[in-house]
């Protein structure tokens, strides 16, 4: 266990820039954008937003609520409960999915930036130490290649997302504070209930974690393929990782006229990305999506392929590691 933790730490030391600094920078950038966005909204509302013509609007009590009668014969009924929510600024708490979606969009940005970073990480994971010969230093220590390969996979699938997730959550909290300040100070409305904010926030954490895990489970064969290429390539693992599937697709189409490989690969990627969009903004979808996912045979086939690719990578690291 101690060794595994040390191996994970080693990966973080090596990838400090991409795993830790990138999400921090991204969070800073997003926070800046959010501030700019909020200021712009404020500006627009204040000066340019067309004010409704209220001169001909009749407002009358209807039951416990209000009835707005506009001049063009449109009328709106607002019941007492909604009126109360509106008055206390609980827009997000009356429509929690709105807050969830806003946080979800922030989280998806982090997930989408993490994906290319992970691809680069996996492509280099079992290649860069062979290229610079430091593999002989690592191999002089009592750590098996199985542990090495598996911790590298874990560092990518589970380790890096922790930092990206934390940065995403920090950005989310920042957004909540910003919205609260905007509602409270600029609109001069009472702040939304803390309970509602907390539940939205916790829901968005759960969906962030679940969305990422589901995406990773779909993308696992892709990650393992990248690692395999990294262990196999004598130079430029990227070309191998891209070239072989491309060649297979072309070959299949040329020889058989079919597109099974291409569509299988496409489906896998589509499912992986879809989990981000379907789960991250919608915490209530986690259970349904997870069940749907587990029912897909393609997922299990992907895991089988992943296991084979990992076994092959470990074998390569043991027997064919010299460039």
């Amino acid at each position: 266990m101690n060794k595994t933790i040390m191996q994970l730490k080693r990966e973080l030391w090596e990838c400090r820039a991409s795993f830790i600094r990138t999400p921090i920078i991204l969070a800073g950038l997003l926070m800046l954008l959010l501030i700019v966005g909020q200021v712009t909204v404020q500006f627009k509302l204040g000066d340019n937003f067309p004010q409704p013509d209220v001169s001909n609007t009749e407002v009358e009590s209807s039951g416990n609520g209000l009835r707005l009668q506009l001049s063009d014969d449109r009328s709106y009924e607002i019941d007492a409960a909604d009126l109360h929510k509106l008055k206390s600024g609980e827009l997000y708490s009356s429509h929690p999915q709105l807050l969830g979606a806003a946080l979800g969009m922030i989280h998806i940005v982090f997930a989408l930036v993490l994906l290319p970073i992970l691809s680069v990480y996996f492509l280099g994971s079992l290649y860069s130490d062979r290229r610079d010969q430091s593999v002989f230093f690592w191999k002089s220590l009592p750590v098996t290649e199985r542990r090495n390969v598996l911790t590298k996979l874990a560092a990518g699938v589970l380790g890096a997302p922790i930092f990206f997730g934390a940065a995403a959550l920090a950005t989310g909290i920042f957004y909540l504070v910003l919205i609260s300040v905007y509602t409270g100070v600029f609109l001069n409305l009472p702040l939304p209930g803390l309970g509602h904010i907390l539940s939205s926030f916790l829901g968005s954490i759960a969906s962030l974690v679940a969305g990422w895990l589901m995406m990773s489970l779909w993308a696992l064969p892709i990650f393992c393929w990248l690692m395999f290429c990294s262990a196999l390539a004598k130079k430029v693992p990227f070309l191998m990782a891209l070239g072989i599937p491309l060649a297979l697709v072309v070959l299949e189409f040329w020889a058989l006229g079919s597109r099974h490989i291409g569509s299988a690969l496409g489906d896998q990627a589509k499912w992986a990305l879809a989990s981000l969009g379907k789960v991250i903004p919608f915490p209530d979808q986690i259970g349904i999506q997870a069940l749907q996912m587990l029912a897909e045979p393609a997922l299990w086939i992907g895991w089988l392929i992943s296991a084979l690719l990992l076994a092959a990578s470990i074998w390569l690291r043991n027997y064919r590691y010299e460039i």
Binding site: K3, M6, W13, Q133, S134, S140, P142
Partner: protein
């Protein structure tokens, strides 16, 4: 006591070339063995097989373990520095110490710190910021702080200046080596380790052509400086090697009694470097080009 290394008939072929050709080797605990051979003679292959880094045919046990199948367990007791091993450039010195402490049960951090204290290496430096000399010092500090039973050094001082090299070997003897440890060293700087070794093996074309204890060198090999007028007499005794020397020839004899040579001129035990050249250019290997062994000697 159990042999540290026991090898029988080690053979390894790369394509058509035999990197190892039936090597037998025994190394007892507490010895310091020098493995000397020209480039491409099979030194690195032999070391790699001992360290479980390359599969090899034949019987091989290191500390009673199979280096291939029990590699991880073996490496808890065997440490090595490969000639090409380079510390990863992104690693910080402090991280290297943390990492070794975490993964190696026999790594003694205090020892490594003590070695490093004698150098100008800062804990916060990254490997890429260190000079070549510092880099080797760091690597050695890390490896020498492992309380291993067998230490394998493949060209440990390559590229270091003479001051560092002297420092390294004296620190290896004073601070590291003790009766429980065994060393296996390859180097091109034969003369620098000559006084250190208890055993020496020469390897040529994948075969061991010398495998003796340094103490036996006196009785097995004699170098004779003979004046020009007695060269024919000396030649008749069958030197394995001769070269021109001031006012005559210097010849090396194998298993010829020193008493028989003494009347012909000045006798002494040949230096390892001279013996190495003699063995590499031995006349009973006519196929070898004259320069083949020379690149191996500094």
């Amino acid at each position: 006591m159990e042999a540290v290394i026991k090898a029988r008939g080690l053979t390894k072929t790369y394509g058509k070339t035999k990197a190892l050709d039936g090597v037998d080797l025994d190394l007892a605990p507490g010895r310091i063995m020098g493995l000397i051979g020209p480039n491409g003679a099979g030194k690195t292959t032999l070391l790699k097989s001992i360290l479980g880094l390359a599969p090899v045919a034949g019987e091989l046990s290191v500390l009673g373990m199979n280096p291939r199948t029990e590699r991880s367990r073996l490496l808890e007791q065997v440490s090595f520095i490969a000639d090409t091993a380079i510390l990863p450039r992104w690693l910080k010195v402090s991280e290297a110490l943390d990492y070794m402490t975490g993964v190696h049960p026999r790594f003694e951090r205090e020892r490594a710190e003590a070695f490093l204290a004698r150098t100008g290496i800062k804990r916060q430096s990254r490997v890429r910021e260190l000079s070549k000399g510092m880099l080797t010092q760091l690597h050695l500090a890390l490896i020498m702080a492992i309380d291993s039973k067998l230490l394998v050094l493949d060209e440990p001082t390559l590229g270091l200046d003479i001051l560092y090299r002297k420092q390294f070997y004296s620190s290896l003897l004073d601070d590291y080596f003790d009766a429980d440890k065994t060393l296996l060293i390859t180097t091109h700087q034969v003369e620098e380790i000559e006084n250190l070794l208890t055993d020496v093996i020469f390897i040529k074309n994948g075969k061991l052509c010398l495998n003796v204890a340094m103490d036996d060198l006196d009785s097995l090999y004699t170098e004779l400086h003979v004046s020009a007028d007695r060269v024919d007499q000396a030649q008749a005794l069958g030197p394995i090697y001769s070269r021109s020397a001031l006012g005559g020839k210097a010849m090396i004899f194998e298993q010829v009694e020193r008493a028989r040579l003494a009347p012909l001129g000045e006798t002494k035990t040949p230096s390892l470097a001279d013996l190495f050249v003699a063995k590499m250019e031995a006349p009973h290997r006519p196929g070898a080009p004259a320069s083949s062994g020379l690149e191996g000697v500094a």
